[in-house]
Amino acid sequence: MNHHVEDTLRRTLESAAEKAPELPGTLAGELDIRYRRRRQRSQALLAAAGVVVVTVGVAVGLRPGDDGTTPPAVHSSSTPSASAITAEPVEKVWPQAVWKVPAKAPDGRELRPVGLIDDRTLLMEGWREFGRTEALYAYTKAGGEPRKIVDVPTPKGTRRYASDFSLDGGQVAWWTATKHAVRIWAAPPDDGPARTVAVHKIKDADASGVDGFGATGGNAVFSLSTGGVFIVPLTGGPVTAVPRGAGLHLLSWPWAGTPDRSDPMAGPPFTRLVNLETGQTSTAVSHKGERVYACGVRSCMGTTADGKGFTRGRDGSRQKEIPVGYLIPEPPVQSRFYVRNLADNGGGLGLYDVTRGKLADTGIRDEVATRGEIPVPDRTGRLMTYRLGNTYYVIDLSKIP
């Protein structure tokens, strides 16, 4: 009886397999294109968040975990062995700082935290198709459901969907791009609607798109990947080139510099910076044999010749050893909070406060981290957020004493 079923099963599977459709000869090429597109997309996401994944001695660069089945090689360094510290859940360690937020809107859209509108209100972006934001939502700390506040338009011919939502006073600003124009948008983050602030002509969105964006002091500021920083009032008006910004890439107003993030061969990003308001310049110190991965406005991080992770001021002062793993440069963490493994052999991800020597368990296990779900900072560096199942964990770092 058993054999009868198993024989039929084997025979069925074999003949069914013969009915599989044929693959086109061009498949490998198609897959290559998709692979690159996917990688660019995830790299853009992580680059925007400023996340760098580093292993002892070997840089794997920006690693979004887009290839789910291979775990990222993340090792702890010699800053106190993770196994020697017991980690409690983040919500126990920092109860005053952790919010749990729904990852879905009542209308079914996927949500992702953007930043804080005020101390008690979180701004979130919502989409149905990955990366194509259709609306903004507000979620209040008191609870309840996320509330839609702004519809985000996608004009015909859009090549780059709404990106880099930035809060400035009573406005949220962002940009979209068609092949030949960047469009800057703004809306009040309570009840819309979105309005066009300016349209700026570019040569080709794929080659000269926006690589830095921010809203500050009533203006939108942005830089193009071909170099050059531009400014326009959020109330509208002409887009003007910022005088000291020629050839530079925006890091965080008023700082712009080189090299940009896109070319790994050009060296660590933003080792050279210019203050566009005062003209002050800053060149990050780098020593022979070490590897600097990224620089922010105040500090750089990298690994020493013997593979130990460090963070230090741009001028070389205040060097501190940090756990090697997922390194997130400032501004987010003010060289204080680092994502690291819970145990020397993995065991999931913790958030480590290097100042107080505290390690908190994020609840992210290795399998989830491998898919790219790791805590990322918001644009201001005040929040770190990550998703677990249908819940976003939002950690307000400013509430951690």
């Binding site: 009886m1 058993n2 009868h4 079923v5 198993e6 039929t8 099963l9 084997r10 025979r11 069925t12 599977l13 074999e14 003949s15 069914a16 397999a17 013969e18 009915k19 599989a20 459709p21 044929e22 693959l23 086109p24 000869g25 061009t26 498949l27 490998a28 090429g29 198609e30 897959l31 290559d32 294109i33 998709r34 692979y35 690159r36 996917r38 990688r39 887009d66 290839d67 789910g68 089945t69 291979t70």
Partner: protein, 174 residues
């Protein structure tokens, strides 16, 4: 960045076999193609890190089996990179008792089906199946036995009849 010729060679050489495996795993052309595409994309991403002793085909097959049993895949499907042949509304099925078996297979939960495919199509041992799917050997055995029970009750020894319940379940899944 140039396309990696070794990757292209692998796809050309093994693509058809992988699609056949995907088809018996998933039971329909679209899911089969989706599985192959996703697994090959992941292989492409890992290609530079594959070592000489790594076997790309076993990497892809394991990925496909795991993807097929992972629920998150249901929510993350990408458009296919190629057009499937026109099949009307129904995929082509085998004939006779094989047709009954094929339809009964469609009524099995994904993991049970995957265990049976790995055992009877791939010819893997229970230990290998456990490793491939990331489950215990005991689970492999219980899933296989439950799956076979269901198939047995769906396929009377006399002929290719299918109980109404399995047929309904099959139609719903389509």
């Amino acid at each position: 960045m140039e396309a990696d010729p070794r990757f292209a060679g692998f796809v050309a050489e093994r693509g058809e076999a992988l699609l056949r495996y995907g088809y018996v795993l998933a039971g329909n052309h679209h899911d089969a193609a989706d599985l192959v595409q996703e697994a090959l994309l992941r292989l492409r991403a890992s290609w530079p890190r594959l070592r000489a002793k790594d076997n790309p085909e076993s990497y892809v097959r394991t990925t496909m089996a795991r993807l097929h049993t992972a629920t998150w895949r249901l929510r993350r499907r990408e458009l296919l990179a190629w057009d499937l042949p026109e099949q009307g509304h129904h995929d082509v099925l085998p004939d006779g008792d094989e047709q009954a078996m094929w339809q009964a297979l469609a009524g099995l939960p994904r993991r049970q089906r995957a265990v049976l495919v790995l055992r009877h199509y791939e010819g893997l041992s229970d230990a290998e199946i456990a490793k491939t799917l990331g489950i215990s050997r005991g689970t492999v055995r219980s899933q296989a036995s439950r799956g076979l029970d269901k198939l047995r009750s769906a396929i009377p020894t006399g002929g290719p009849g299918i109980p109404e319940s399995s047929r309904r379940e099959y139609e719903e899944r389509r």
